[in-house]
Amino acid sequence: MARLNVNGRMVEFEAEPDTPLLWVIREQLGLTGTKYGCGVAQCGACTVHVDGVATRTCALPVSAFNDGQKIVTIEGLSPDGSHPVQKAWAALDVPQCGYCQTGMIMSAAALLQAKPKPTDADINAEMTNICRCGTYNRVRAAIKLAADGGEVRGG
């Protein structure tokens, strides 16, 4: 039996040590908001926070983590979708199919935690998640909106 601290709760589960953290989160813990997209840490759909750092979980074995680390998934970002990034995403109607968006949101939340007023260059460097529907411009606008305090200006 292994233990991890996920979304503020200590959880116990059984999994082979080489199981990627993504699949423990999705299958053993049943938290399906974190997505599988590529399995090779290319697309970012599997992004969660590990001690506040955006981390791609599809290619990292669960044995690389310990119960002293705080893991936060999209389900734990806020109790009710009220995180400033989620609110900005709602204000600008960012998602299309939405599949990549939980990873996008986790990446954006970590970026804003580290850099509350990110430049375009910061956004380009940190937001390397793949979206095939093509929401990138709204993602960028929503990050800036969240950085500005979430108020949608008129016009």
Binding site: T73, C97, T102
Partner: protein, 729 residues
């Protein structure tokens, strides 16, 4: 009078037995028939006013939508159109998917489920608006009957019905039961779009909030009691098959339940979790018979297509005058050969489907663009009659045409059939998804243009050589062997895919050459390559004629005012002809397809190092009517991501019969740092209904390629750009 006391659907008790408990346990909003009413059996159903509209006692309006939501906003747009005619309160509107099985049982009452070809709104707007209008008429009639007054004396706004003369008022929720028993009206007039108050407005999507919290359940996330997971490997070479596999080698691995051959070409491992199924599958010794295509490579395919460019036999798509004679007698001729590679859809959510098979019935839960095709696949694979099968649709994590095919449904049912009573979810790995796509067809095109001494275009021959989607997927739709869809954007006449130029001597023909890599409908379909071929070559002709690309086009477009208006709208907004920042160059392109007219201007710079930077895109579109302008903007922006991904990186190559790109590390796509600013100009001219999900993709690549030529003098005629050196010579 037709008396209907309650929804025929709710009485039918879909998913009797095991399926019903499965429906109960889903724990998220499920399509009706699976939800509370069906599960509780005796609970009264909310009244169905007609197939499209259900009004609940709490005033909630449920709009039933047969088309699939895959990000393109169809769900919201269609709900807007129904709500507009219904005159209900938009804040009370929700949606649900009817199932194809339910539709079949009611004489295909929800009509076409197929969600492709940008047809969601344009091909269902008429009957769905009429559904909303008919429901409004019935609800008002019910109130009028209750009050004993003429319906014509009643007014309705936001779901509140009033009788001004007597001061009485009621609500849709209060009269819904009675309205369901009112005879449906025969004459259902629709509003003039200029009077719209819900449709035509940039309303927020109805499906956003759950996508922000992880609450949105995609097919890959589905949970059912006792669910097992399957991973699959199909022969990496299409046309090959499984020679042998050693199940005993993996059967004792953790969680493994079963190793299952699937058809002649695939093997699946079923386990408690998907990761364990995949781990065992990767360890499973499989010997493949790679079949007759094992010697095929990109080079052999290219050679076959090249032969077709000069072949004497070809299907004619568009012909006027005598192009060959015009070319033979021209003052000047221009000739060029272009090519477009295989592309994978690469939806973010890999293919998946969940099936529950018993000897009595078969249910499938899956993301699909075509519920009825998925049902047909379920029927075929289950060996059960259609009346005992159904497909429950789930929002798609991307479709782009890939999920119009039902191969993964067939596989899931075949696996589940070996484990009666146990639901099995089949999920493809990204690698499986990349290897077994239905690829954007591969073609080449040789263009020959004839210019007279004044630089006027007198003749054009466009010879397309390559793959036919219809020959691969819908051979019954070929016309004496000819694939009419090959000529998208190049048609002489008709309401759709019409060429925007008048050329006195024109010949557009197609030498069909079909490699073994299976083709599919890839967002934008054949408009993608045809727009590159035509619009880049028109720039080449303008150059040879010594004319500005916009001015040259305008002369050819005199008889095509709608095409021209959209091109002008893009050019004007972009400031065509005005100075650009240093090093920045413009290119433009236009095309018509999926019912809409589109054009784009790209502003591009190319660095000393050959790096292309796309600074700004101006994109104009005339879809006839703009049902939700902010969603059109989202579709237009997204079209550039899809179109520019193909331009910059997209290419699936073939070696030893197999696709070489197996994941995003070798099949790169556009990311945020390369995303240009996109300015969308919507110029709806009315009188027709066009799509918005696809047409703009087609102008993305040629506009940028034409700008790259303006910047560098280098004419790129084959995608993707990553294979070309744009460094200054």
């Amino acid at each position: 009078m037709t008396i209907r006391t309650e929804s025929a659907l709710s009485r039918r008790g879909f998913l009797a037995g095991a399926g019903a408990s499965a429906g109960l346990a889903l724990g998220f909003h499920v399509p009706f028939g699976l939800g509370e009413a069906a599960a509780q059996g005796a609970a009264p159903a909310a009244p169905e006013i007609n197939a499209w509209v259900v009004v609940k006692p709490d005033e909630t309006v449920v709009v039933r939508i047969a088309r699939s939501e895959m990000g393109q906003g169809t769900l919201t747009g269609l709900a807007q159109l129904v709500a507009e005619e219904l005159e209900c309160d938009w804040s009370k509107v929700t949606t649900e998917y009817p199932t194809p099985g339910q539709s079949l049982a009611r004489g295909r009452i929800w009509q076409n489920f197929s969600t492709g070809g940008s047809r969601g709104l344009r091909e269902s707007q008429d009957y769905m608006r009429k559904g909303g209008a008919a429901a409004r008429i019935m609800l008002v009639q019910a109130a009028a009957n209750e009050w004993g007054v003429p319906a014509a004396d009643c007014r309705v706004s936001k779901g509140v019905i009033t009788h001004p003369a007597s001061g009485r008022s009621t609500t849709y929720g209060q009269v819904a039961d009675a309205a369901a028993r009112v005879e449906p009206p025969k004459d259902v007039p629709l509003k003039d779009p200029k009077d719209w108050t819900i449709a035509g407005k940039p309303l927020k999507r109805l499906d956003t909030l759950e996508k922000l919290t992880g609450a949105q359940v995609y097919g890959i996330d589905l949970k059912l009691p006792g669910l097992l997971n399957a991973a699959i490997k199909d022969c990496p070479v299409m046309g090959g098959r499984v020679k042998s596999f050693d199940a005993a080698a993996v059967e004792k691995m953790p969680g493994v339940k079963k190793v299952v051959p699937v058809g002649e070409s695939a093997v699946a491992v079923v386990a408690d979790t998907w990761w364990r199924a995949k781990t065992a599958l990767d360890a499973l010794p499989i010997e493949w018979d790679k079949g007759p295509n094992a010697g095929v490579s990109s080079a052999t395919i290219a050679a076959t297509l090249k032969e077709g460019l000069g072949a004497s036999q070809a299907f004619v798509g568009n012909q006027s005058g005598d192009a060959k004679a015009a070319i033979a007698g021209a003052a000047k001729t221009v000739e060029a050969v272009y090519g477009y590679p295989f592309q994978n859809h690469a939806t973010m959510e890999p293919m998946n489907a969940t099936a529950l098979w018993t000897p009595e019935r078969c249910d499938v839960w899956c993301p699909t663009q075509n519920g009825e095709a998925a049902l047909a696949a379920t029927v075929e694979a289950s060996g059960l009659p259609a009346a005992r099968c159904d497909v429950h649709k789930i929002h798609l994590g991307g479709g782009f045409g890939r999920r119009g095919q039902s191969d993964y449904v067939r596989q899931a049912v075949a696996i589940a059939k070996t484990m009666p009573g146990t639901p099995v979810k089949l999920t493809w790995s990204r690698e499986e998804d990349m290897l077994h796509g239905y690829f954007h067809p591969i073609t080449q095109c040789k263009l020959t243009g004839a210019l007279d001494a004044a630089g006027e275009l007198t003749g054009l021959h466009m010879r397309i050589s390559g793959q036919s989607i219809l020959a691969g997927l819908l051979p019954q739709n070929l016309q004496n062997g000819r694939d009419p869809a090959t000529f998208q954007g190049l048609n002489a006449s008709g309401p759709d895919f019409q060429i925007g130029y008048t050329v006195p001597n024109l010949l557009i023909d197609h030498a069909m050459r079909n490699p073994h890599i299976r083709p599919g409908f890839w967002r934008g379909v054949n408009l993608n390559q045809n727009a590159i071929y035509l619009e880049c070559f028109v720039d080449e002709l303008a150059l040879a004629a010594g004319q500005d690309p916009l001015a040259f086009r305008r002369k050819l477009m005199r008889n095509h005012p709608k095409h021209l208006a959209v091109l002008n709208a893009a050019a004007e907004k972009a400031g065509w002809g005005s100075p650009t920042p240093p090093g920045v160059h413009r290119g433009l392109a236009q095309i018509m397809g999926f019912g809409s007219y589109v054009a784009a201007v790209a502003e591009v710079s190319v660095g000393e190092d050959g790096k292309v930077k796309i600074h700004r895109i101006v994109a104009a579109t005339d879809p006839g009517y703009a049902v939700n302008p902010q969603q059109i903007e989202a579709q237009v922006e997204g079209s550039f991501v899809y179109g520019l991904s193909a331009l910059l990186y997209g290419e699936c190559t073939v070696a030893e019969g197999k696709i070489e790109q197996e994941n995003f590390d070798t099949y790169n796509v556009l990311r945020m740092d390369e995303m240009p600013k996109v300015e969308t100009v919507i110029v709806p001219s009315g009188g027709f209904w066009g799509g918005v999900g696809e047409p703009t993709i087609a102008v993305a690549a040629p506009a940028v390629l034409n700008a790259i030529f303006a910047a560098t003098g280098k004419r790129i005629r084959e995608l993707p750009l990553k294979n070309h050196d744009l460094r200054r010579a």
